[in-house]
């Protein structure tokens, strides 16, 4: 206690008026709980670490845009008893250590109760370790690396994934490519994918399933350009020297555009059948000035697949608001935010543990579902039943045609088999 020297304490001892005021406030609060709720109508803060600059900035920008649309719709509808959602997006510049720092800052300094992780795989694993430590509810919305949620040692009870998964894409891609390999006699295959966990996983899992569905196929080589490599000449010429009949690539975004531009110079795509899993995304399709016809690609995001009214409307709404077409990361983040909003509405809570309980096994109606719904599978906290298909590029809109939709019963069966082999099921 501090004394003024005149016999009356300056701090520490409440006066009669203060006690009276406090009593009135307490009484009013207890008798009218809505006052307390009103007083604590602070926004629900959701932190979003992402890549907002550099060659992969479109990942972060499209992720933020799509999530913000859902947030705005939720807030406009009155929020949770008047509590709105505030989305706080921060740039990690694509660096895993920076992603970890940004997440800690979002949790500790910005008071975010939930993390919507919009990092690429390299950053997502760093984010996973931070949220495992803090116990914060997290939905990974951009990392496609299978082990993030499939490997029990990496999985965390408070972390979910709302993104397509390499294994799912590989099963579908392997099956699709095997059909073409069989029909066209493509025996010699090569891969050219970015040299980090996503690229390596994607190539190896694709080849595994390709060989499973078409055992006569042979992998004759691989080349691993660095992520964001400026020059692919050495990779292109290595492919030309190896003389494969078909090439698989998990390159994406600006890297894929540069690879195609440089490959075109050598006439690479006249000499090999090209399976580029990440080709069918609008920015990439538009950025390649001379898009070779006949590239096989998985649907990253296409407003024409699934060919439903709700998908076309969502794409049009996004385009209208941001004056650009949505990308794969956009649908994933829109869906992740939709899952969070549905969980918040269902539980009436922003508590991470309560929301996690609601998210496990939750099914939502979605334009991105293979059959109109997507489920957050409880056992490994990852989404299933989203639309996956493969088709062939054409130089003009709609850019991809002949889409063949995947069968989720086949995916689920193969996935279970794969997990058993790994000892993860």
């Amino acid at each position: 206690m501090v004394d003024s020297g005149f016999g009356r304490p300056v701090f520490g001892s409440p006066g009669r008026r203060s006690v009276l005021k406090a009593g009135l406030v307490a009484g009013a609060t207890l008798s009218m709980p809505f006052v307390a709720r009103g007083a604590s109508k602070q926004p629900i803060r959701i932190g979003q670490p992402s890549i907002l600059s550099g060659r992969l900035a479109q990942l972060g920008i499209s992720s933020r845009n799509a999530a913000q649309m859902v947030v705005d719709a939720f807030n406009a509808a009155g929020g949770l008893d008047g509590r709105t959602i505030e989305l706080i997006s921060r740039d990690s510049k694509g660096k895993p250590d920076e992603a970890a720092r940004v997440v800690r800052e979002l949790i500790n300094n910005d008071g975010c109760q939930i993390i919507l992780d919009s990092e690429a795989s390299s950053g997502a694993f760093a984010v996973q370790e931070v949220v495992r430590e803090t116990g914060t509810l997290c939905i990974h919305a951009d990392s496609e690396t299978t082990s993030l949620t499939a490997d029990p040692k990496i999985r965390a009870p408070n972390a979910f994934r709302c993104a397509r998964q390499v294994l799912h894409d590989s099963i579908v891609g392997g099956s699709y490519a095997a059909g073409i390999a069989k029909a066209q006699g493509l025996k010699r295959w090569m891969t050219c994918s970015p040299d980090y966990v996503y690229g390596r996983d994607s190539s190896s899992e694709f080849l595994d399933y390709l060989k499973m569905f078409e055992p006569s196929v042979e992998a004759v080589g691989a080349t691993w350009p660095k992520l964001f490599a400026p020059d692919y000449t050495e990779n292109v010429t290595r492919i030309l020297e190896t003389k494969p009949q078909a090439l698989y690539s998990a390159l994406y975004s600006g890297d894929l555009v540069s690879f195609i531009d440089q490959g075109n110079l050598y006439g690479l795509f006249d000499q090999v059948k090209f399976f580029a899993i990440n080709m069918a995304d609008y920015t990439t399709l538009h950025a390649v000035k001379k898009l070779p016809a006949g590239i096989y690609s998985c649907n990253r995001y296409l407003s024409t697949f699934p060919a439903t009214k709700s998908n076309a409307e969502w794409s049009a709404a996004y385009d209208k608001r941001y004056n650009v077409l949505p990308l794969n990361w956009a649908w994933q983040n829109a869906l992740a935010m939709q899952f969070l909003v549905e969980a918040i509405k269902k539980t009436g809570s922003d508590d991470g543990k309560v929301l996690a309980g609601a998210l496990r096994g939750m099914t939502v109606e979605s334009p991105f579902g293979a059959k109109g719904t997507v489920t957050m599978r409880a056992e490994d906290q990852t989404i299933v039943d989203y639309a996956i298909g493969w088709g062939v590029t054409i130089p003009q809109a709609p850019f991809v045609e002949g889409m063949q939709a995947a069968d989720w019963t086949v995916i689920a069966a193969r996935e279970t088999e794969w997990k058993k082999q790994k000892g993860w099921a």
């Binding site: 550099g54 964001f228 050495e234 020297e241 540069s258 110079l265 050598y266 000035k289």
Partner: protein, 300 residues
């Protein structure tokens, strides 16, 4: 490691042609950036860590000029001139103030400008990558030389770079400007004492270095997507070139750039997982045998 493939490539004319031309291409763009770095260091004694940002600026200026004029020649000229002028302004307004400061202060100023330029590019051109696409005149099928493939655009690129290298060599070795530049590199006080405007000289050299980086960015634009921060990786490689060739040596930069390009292209056949390692390994060997670099005079 795939020694069979490497040996097979060395004994195949088609592979030799394809990989040699690929190595030249990688090397030529590196040379244009590295010779600016080495020129500025040789005369001004300043290591310009912002040189990669000049390369980026060149690519973006070329992109805009190409969109406006639909002429690739105009795009390259605009980019080179624009970045050259920017280099002069950068030198006069900022770098000239830290000529005599220690290298940490120079690094700080350059790094600040790398960040500022990256952000400026984001504000002007957007954060997403952009692609110029191949100008129609070069959108041709590759040439077949002894079974090897050589893209016509790359032939143009090598020819332009070799022409620039010869012109630069001529400028430095055979003109009055070149004599003054070489004299300034040896004894700048004496050059100043002879009544030569050294401020103008330094600005010219800095501008010339920047112009070459801008030209490299413009020449790379049709095949490399432009993105904020794209200059970082080429800057690192151009420093390796400068170290191998010898700080301040144009001929050294040219030789080292070609050497590095060939190491990358042939390394990708025999040592596909170790091409970066080969590049740094080459640098270490040169540093051990000849610490001052292949072409530099005197001790390091």
């Amino acid at each position: 490691m795939n020694l069979d493939a490497f040996a097979g490539c060395l004994s195949s004319a088609s592979c030799l042609i394809t990989q040699t031309s690929a190595g030249l291409i990688i090397g030529m763009l590196l040379f244009l950036v590295a010779c600016g770095v080495t020129l500025i260091f040789g005369v001004l004694g300043v290591i310009n860590f912002a040189h990669g940002a000049f390369y980026m600026l060149g690519a973006y200026l070329a992109l805009t000029a190409y969109q406006l004029t639909d002429s690739y020649l105009a795009a390259v000229l605009c980019a080179a001139a624009g970045v050259g002028l920017f280099g002069v302004a950068f030198d006069r307004l900022f770098m000239s103030r830290v000529y005599n400061s220690n290298v940490l202060m120079q690094l700080l100023v350059c790094y600040a400008f790398v960040l500022i330029l990256d952000d400026a590019v984001k504000m002007i051109w957007g954060a997403e990558f952009q692609s110029m696409g191949m100008p129609a005149v070069f959108a041709l099928r590759p040439l077949h030389v002894f079974g090897g493939l050589v893209p016509p655009f790359y032939v143009f690129l090598v020819a332009v770079t070799v022409a620039i290298a010869i012109a630069l060599g001529g400028l430095i070795e055979r003109t009055l400007f070149g004599k003054i530049v070489r004299a300034a590199a040896v004894n700048r006080q004496m050059v100043s004492a002879l009544g030569i405007n050294t401020s103008l000289l330094y600005a010219s050299v800095f501008g010339l270095g920047a112009l070459l980086a801008g030209a490299a960015g413009a020449l790379a634009a049709p095949v490399r997507s432009a993105t904020p921060g794209m200059g970082v990786s080429i800057l690192i490689e151009s420093f390796i070139v400068t170290v191998i060739g010898g700080m301040g040596s144009i001929a050294g930069a040219f030789t080292a750039a070609v050497l590095l390009g060939l190491v990358r292209s042939f390394g990708s056949i025999g040592f596909p997982l170790f091409t970066d390692g080969l590049m740094f390994g080459l640098m270490v060997i040169v540093l051990l045998i000849r610490p001052q670099g292949l072409f530099a005079r005197g001790s390091a």
